[in-house]
C-alpha cells in the first residue's frame, strides 16, 4: 500500500508503535583486480572492456580467490569487532538473471568470514551499539541498462544492455543484527550507522565508498510492533537505498506506511520493496511467497578459506586509527563540545574539517565554513558535503585570506561561491572580481567623510550619544566601497570624527 493519503503521520505512528531496524550494506572493495580473475576494477571504463573468460563465466572457466579481497574483508571484520573464521567456504547462490554471467553468484552462506561484532553509533549524544551479525565476501553482478523506456526500469523498456565490467568485483556484505530501542530516532540511527560504517570503511582504505557510483549500497529492513508487544512485527526489506538521506527517508516512510497497515487491522507483508528517490516512497517488490530458492551449496570450484591466525593478528596490528578513536582525539585537539562534534560527524564534515585544519586553517574557522556556507550550499543543491566541488585546501586558503584581512567574511562567501561555480582558485577569484578589502586609509577616510556628509541626521544622532546609529553610517561606507571596506576600521574612523 503506497497511498500517500493513508500514511500515518510520523509522530502519531511512533506514539503507537516501536520500530526495529536492520541494515545490509554492500561494499565494493577497492582491490586492483576482481574477486576471481585478474581483470581491473576501474570504474567507468568502456562497457564490457574489463572482462575475461572467468568473469564472463564462459564454459570451462574457473575462479581463483583474490587474497587481497580476503585480507580487506578480515580488516573490516576486525574493525567491526567480529570473530574471524578459522575455516570457511564460499557457496553458490543460484538464480537466473542476465547480468549474472554464471547464473549463480559466488557468495558465502552459512560460513561467513566474519561474525558477531558491533559498531557504536552516536545519535543526538546517545550512543547505540549496533550488533553486526556477519561480514561476508562475494562477487558483484554485471549491470543491466534498460533502454527505451521512460523510467530506466525493466518494465516498459524496449531492450536491455548488460555491462559485465562490474561482474566479479569483490563485494563485502555487512549485515547488522536487529537494532531495537531507537524509538523515534530510528531514521536518524539508520543514517548515523551508514555514516559511521562508511567512515570506518574509508579509514580502513578498503573501498572508495562512493554511494553515487554504487560502491556502497544499502538494503534497509524495518518492522513495527505495538509498544510493549512480546514479538517483533513482520519486516520489509527496502532494496538499493543509496544515499544517506534516502536511508533516513526510507526508514521514515516505512514506519508511516506500516503504521497505516497495522492501524487498518491488516498484516504487513514480508516482501522486498523498492525505494523511489524522487518522492521518497517505497513500493512492493517480490513477496516472500514468490521469493527464490537460491539452492545454496558449497562452491566446489574453490578451496576453503582458512586464514592463518598469525596473518589475522598481523592485519589487526596494521589497522589504522579508527573513526571513533579519532573523533575523541580530534575533539580534544580542537576543544569542541560533544554537541559540536556530533554536529560535525552527522554533517559528514569531520574529514573535511580535519583536512582543512591540516591545510592550515584553525579548527574553529574550518568548522564555521563547512557547517555554515558550504553546508547551506550542499543542502540547496542536494549533494553531500564531500561531493561539493571544493577542496579542504581551498577552504583553508579562503580562511587564510580572511585572517590576513585581505577579505572579510562576507567577501569570503563570494569567494567560496566562485570556487563552487568553477571560477578557479580563491586568490584568482579575489583578483578577478576585485574583492580585496579597501585597506588604503586615505580611500577609507574619504568614504567615511562622504558618508557623514551625506547623512547629517544620522551623524547628529551619533553626536548626541546614540552610538547604535553608527551602523547606518558603516552601511553607507560599505555600500560605497561595494563591501570591500574593513567595517570595523570604518566604524572606528566614524566614531573618531563624531565623538
Amino acid at each position: 500500500m503506497t497511498d500517500l493519503a493513508q500514511l500515518v503521520p510520523y509522530d502519531e505512528a511512533l506514539s503507537r508503535y516501536e520500530p526495529v531496524i536492520g541494515l545490509e550494506t554492500h561494499v565494493e572493495l577497492g582491490t586492483t583486480t576482481k574477486m576471481f580473475c585478474g581483470c581491473p576494477t576501474t570504474f567507468g571504463l568502456e562497457p564490457n572492456s574489463a572482462v575475461c573468460p572467468v568473469c564472463l563465466g564462459l564454459p570451462g572457466s574457473l575462479p581463483v580467490a583474490n587474497r587481497a579481497a580476503i585480507e580487506y574483508t578480515i580488516r573490516i571484520g576486525l574493525a567491526l569487532n567480529c570473530s574471524i573464521a578459522t575455516w570457511c567456504r564460499f557457496a553458490r547462490k543460484n538464480y537466473f538473471y542476465p547480468d549474472m554471467p554464471k547464473d549463480f553468484q559466488i557468495s558465502q552462506y552459512d560460513e561467513p568470514l566474519c561474525t558477531d561484532g558491533w559498531l557504536d553509533v552516536v545519535v543526538d549524544g546517545t550512543t547505540f551499539r549496533v550488533g553486526i551479525e556477519r561480514v561476508h565476501l562475494e562477487e558483484d553482478t554485471g549491470k543491466s541498462l534498460h533502454m527505451g523506456g521512460a523510467t530506466g526500469r525493466i518494465h516498459g523498456a524496449e531492450y536491455s544492455l548488460v555491462d559485465y565490467n562490474r561482474a566479479g568485483i569483490p563485494l563485502v556484505e555487512v549485515v547488522t543484527k536487529p537494532v531495537t530501542g531507537t524509538g523515534a530516532i530510528a531514521p536518524d540511527a539508520a543514517r548515523a550507522y551508514v555514516t559511521e560504517l562508511r567512515g570506518l570503511l574509508r579509514s580502513l582504505g578498503v573501498s572508495d565508498v562512493r554511494m553515487e557510483e554504487g560502491s556502497l549500497r544499502n538494503d534497509v529492513n524495518v518492522s513495527l510492533a505495538p509498544h510493549g508487544a512480546a514479538q517483533w512485527g513482520t519486516r520489509t526489506e527496502t532494496k538499493n537505498v543509496n544515499s544517506l538521506r534516502s536511508v533516513e527517508r526510507a526508514v521514515r516512510f516505512e514506519i508511516e506506511r506500516q503504521a497505516a497497515v497495522l492501524d487498518a487491522g491488516q498484516k504487513v507483508v514480508q516482501e522486498t520493496r523498492h525505494f523511489h528517490e524522487d518522492n521518497g516512497i517505497t513500493t512492493a517488490g517480490r513477496s516472500k511467497e514468490e521469493a527464490q530458492d537460491y539452492r545454496y551449496f558449497p562452491e566446489p570450484d574453490l578451496v576453503p578459506v582458512a586464514p592463518d591466525r598469525d596473518w589475522v593478528e598481523q592485519i589487526r596490528a596494521s589497522l589504522p586509527e579508527l573513526p571513533a578513536a579519532r573523533r575523541i582525539r580530534l575533539q580534544a585537539e580542537w576543544g569542541l563540545s560533544d554537541l559540536d562534534m556530533t554536529q560535525l560527524s552527522n554533517a559528514g564534515a569531520l574529514d573535511l574539517v580535519s583536512e582543512t585544519v591540516t591545510a592550515g586553517a584553525s579548527a574553529a574557522d574550518a568548522r564555521k565554513w563547512w557547517l555554515g556556507e558550504l553546508a547551506r550550499h550542499a543542502n540547496e543543491t542536494g549533494t553531500d558535503l564531500a561531493a561539493l566541488p571544493i577542496t579542504p585546501a581551498q577552504v583553508a586558503r579562503v580562511s587564510a585570506l580572511v585572517r590576513a584581512g585581505t577579505i572579510n567574511d562576507k567577501l569570503a562567501r563570494q569567494v567560496l561561491d566562485g570556487v563552487l561555480a568553477g571560477q578557479g582558485e580563491p586568490d584568482a577569484i579575489v583578483e578577478a572580481q576585485g574583492l580585496a578589502i579597501v585597506s588604503d586609509e586615505g580611500a577609507l577616510t574619504e568614504a567615511v567623510d562622504a558618508a557623514i556628509a551625506a547623512n547629517p541626521d544620522i551623524a547628529d544622532k551619533v553626536r548626541d550619544g546614540k552610538t547604535a546609529a553608527v551602523g547606518a553610517l558603516v552601511g553607507a561606507v560599505m555600500k560605497a566601497t561595494r563591501g570591500r571596506a574593513d567595517a570595523s576600521r570604518a566604524r572606528e574612523l566614524i566614531l573618531e570624527r563624531l565623538t
Binding site: 573468460p53 570451462g60 572457466s61 554471467p101 549463480f104 536491455s160 551449496f297 566446489p300 574453490l302 578451496v303
Partner: protein, 513 residues
C-alpha cells in the same frame, strides 16, 4: 613417403605413441606424414565409427609442420612431439568448436584454450580434432550426444562406452594413438574397457580442469586414453601438473607415472580384491576374465587378499545426488544471453522466456533429467536429506578406501559389470545405463587414481573386458606399475595386443549399420 601409400600409412597408424615419437625424433618419419596417415584413416573409417565431431586437418598439419621445423632446427622435442591425438569435445580449443555434444553449444567457438589443450600443444602433440561424447559428459554410451552416437570398433552395432566414447573409439580404431577423455563417474575407464584399450583417471586435481566445461566440478578429471600403458603414462605426464588457474589443482609434482609404466613388476605388491565388486553382479565372461587377471597377478608375485569396502554399494546413489546437484548449477549459464544457442528472441519475449525456450530446445533428455534431479536435491528443505546425506556417504567411501589402503597397495575390480551392450539397448532405461559405472564411481567420489587395462575377451560375446586398478590419491604411479605388469604378461599369453584380435574395420563396415 607418399601419403597415398596405403600400406605404409596403415603401418603408421598401427604404431604406438612412443614408437611414433621416437621415429619422428630420429627423423625416420615426419610429423606431417604421421598426421596425414591418421587423417586418411579418419576419412576411411570414421564414417562408420563416428568418433569425431570436428576434424581439424589444416590445423593438425600446421602443428605437425611446426614439430618438423623444430626438429630440423635442432630444437628440443617433447617425448610425444609429433604424435596425433583425439581431444574430447568438452575441453576448450580456440581454433575449433567446443560443443560438449550439445545443441546448446553447437555454434560456440571458445576464445581460449583449456590448460590441458595448451599443454598438449606445448608438448608438440598434434590435435586431430574433437571427439564425440554424451552431452555434457552425462552418459555411458555416447547415445546422449546431440549429434548421434559413436560406434564400438569391435562391433559397430555396439556402444563405445561413454561419456568419452568418441576418444576411446578413435584410439581403438587407429584413428589416433592417443585420446583425451574426462572422468566424472567412469567416463574414461568404462569406454576404455569396452573398447579394449587403456584409460586412466588421474587423482582429482592432478590434471587441470581449467577449460574443461564442467559437469560436476568436484568429480571431473581429465585423463589419457591409449592403446598401451606406457603411452597412457606418457600422455598423463604431458597433460598434468599444477595449474594456478584451477584452485582445486594439486600443488605437487606429477607422480612418476612413466617410470612406473616401465617398471612392470608386482612382486611383493599387496593387491586387494574388493569383495563388494567381485560377487555375482557381473556378466559371466567379465567375472571369468577378472578372476584370471587376479590369478595372473598372484602368479607374478603379488600378494592378493580380499578387502571389504562396505560403503561402496552406496556410491551409485550418492553419486546420482552429488553429480546432478553440481550439474544443475554448472549448466545454469547456458541461458542464451552471451553465447551459444538462442531460441525465441523475436523482440516480443522477455529474457526469462528466451532462457526457458533455449534450454528447452538446447538440452537433451538426460541433461534435463539431471538438472531437475539436482535442482530438487539442492532445494530448501531437501538439501540435508539428499545433497547433505550424499556428502556424508562420500566421506564414508573415502574412509573405506583409507582403511583398505592400510592393508593393500592397490585395489582391483572389473572396470564395468558388462561388455559393450548393443546401441539402443539401454537408451530408454536410465537406471540400467547408470549401472555401467557401478565399479568406477567410488574412485571418483574419493578423488583417487584408477586405471582400466584390457584383460581379455568375454567368451560369450568376444568383446573386451577391462581390469580396474585403484590406488590412493597421488599414488597414480602404482596403477601404471600394476597395469604394465598385467599388460606385459597378457600380451605374452595372447601373442600381441588385445586389439589385434578385433576384426579389421573394413571387413565389418556396413554389416551392422
Amino acid at each position: 613417403m607418399a601419403t597415398g601409400d596405403a600400406g605404409t600409412a596403415g603401418e603408421l597408424t598401427r604404431l604406438t605413441a612412443a614408437q611414433i615419437a621416437a621415429a619422428v625424433a630420429a627423423g625416420e618419419v615426419s610429423a606431417v606424414e604421421v598426421t596425414q596417415a591418421h587423417l586418411d584413416r579418419i576419412v576411411a573409417v570414421d564414417p562408420d565409427v563416428r568418433a569425431f565431431l570436428h576434424v581439424a586437418g589444416i590445423g593438425a598439419l600446421a602443428a605437425a609442420e611446426d614439430v618438423d621445423r623444430k626438429r630440423a632446427a635442432g630444437e628440443p622435442l617433447g617425448p610425444l612431439a609429433g604424435v596425433p591425438l583425439a581431444l574430447k569435445d568438452v575441453l576448450t580449443t580456440k581454433d575449433m568448436p567446443t560443443t560438449c555434444g550439445s545443441k546448446i553449444l553447437q555454434s560456440w567457438r571458445p576464445p581460449y584454450d583449456a590448460t590441458v589443450t595448451r599443454r598438449l600443444r606445448d608438448a608438440g602433440i598434434v590435435i586431430l580434432g574433437k571427439t564425440n561424447m554424451d552431452e555434457f559428459a552425462m552418459g555411458s554410451s555416447t547415445e546422449n550426444s546431440a549429434f548421434g552416437p559413436s560406434h564400438n570398433p569391435w562391433d559397430l552395432g555396439r556402444i563405445p562406452g561413454g561419456s568419452s566414447g568418441g576418444s576411446a573409439a578413435a584410439v581403438a580404431a587407429y584413428e589416433a594413438p592417443l585420446g583425451i577423455g574426462t572422468d566424472t563417474g567412469g567416463s574414461i575407464r568404462q569406454p576404455a574397457a569396452v573398447c579394449g584399450i587403456v584409460g586412466m583417471k588421474p587423482t582429482y586435481g592432478g590434471s587441470s580442469r581449467y577449460g574443461l566445461v564442467a559437469f560436476a566440478s568436484s568429480l571431473d578429471t581429465p585423463g589419457p586414453l591409449a592403446r598401451t600403458v606406457l603411452d597412457a603414462a606418457l600422455l598423463h605426464e604431458a597433460m598434468s601438473g599444477h595449474d594456478p588457474c584451477d584452485s582445486t589443482s594439486v600443488d605437487a609434482p606429477v607422480p612418476p607415472v612413466v617410470a612406473a609404466a616401465r617398471h612392470a613388476d608386482v612382486s611383493g605388491l599387496r593387491v586387494g580384491v574388493v569383495t563388494e565388486f567381485s560377487g555375482g553382479g557381473s556378466q559371466g565372461g567379465v567375472q571369468a576374465r577378472f578372476t584370471e587377471a587376479v590369478e595372473l597377478l598372484e602368479s607374478l608375485g603379488a600378494k592378493v587378499v580380499e578387502v571389504s569396502c562396505p560403503h561402496f554399494t552406496y556410491a551409485l546413489p550418492a553419486y546420482y545426488l552429488i553429480a546432478p546437484s553440481e550439474c544443475s548449477s554448472n549448466l545454469a549459464r547456458f541461458d542464451a544471453m552471451r553465447y551459444g544457442l538462442r531460441v525465441g528472441d523475436d523482440g516480443t519475449r522477455s529474457a526469462e522466456d528466451v532462457m526457458s525456450l533455449t534450454r528447452e530446445a538446447g538440452f537433451g533428455p538426460e541433461v534435463k533429467r539431471r538438472i531437475m534431479l539436482g535442482t530438487y536435491a539442492l532445494s530448501s528443505g531437501y538439501y540435508d536429506a539428499y545433497y547433505g546425506k550424499a556428502q556424508q556417504v562420500r566421506t564414508l567411501i573415502t574412509q573405506d578406501f583409507d582403511a583398505a589402503f592400510e592393508q593393500v597397495d592397490v585395489l582391483v575390480s572389473p572396470t564395468t559389470p558388462t561388455t559393450a551392450f548393443p546401441l539402443g539397448e539401454r537408451a530408454d532405461d536410465p537406471m540400467a545405463m547408470y549401472l555401467a559405472d557401478l565399479f568406477t564411481i567410488p574412485s571418483d567420489l574419493a578423488g583417487n587414481a584408477a586405471i582400466s587395462v584390457p584383460c581379455g575377451l568375454a567368451p560369450e560375446d568376444g568383446l573386451p573386458v577391462g581390469l580396474q586398478i585403484m590406488a590412493p590419491a597421488l599414488a597414480d604411479d602404482r596403477t601404471y606399475r600394476v597395469g604394465a605388469a598385467v599388460e606385459a604378461a597378457l600380451q605374452q599369453r595372447w601373442g600381441g595386443p588385445l586389439l589385434a584380435q578385433a576384426k579389421e574395420l573394413g571387413e565389418t563396415a556396413g554389416e551392422t549399420r
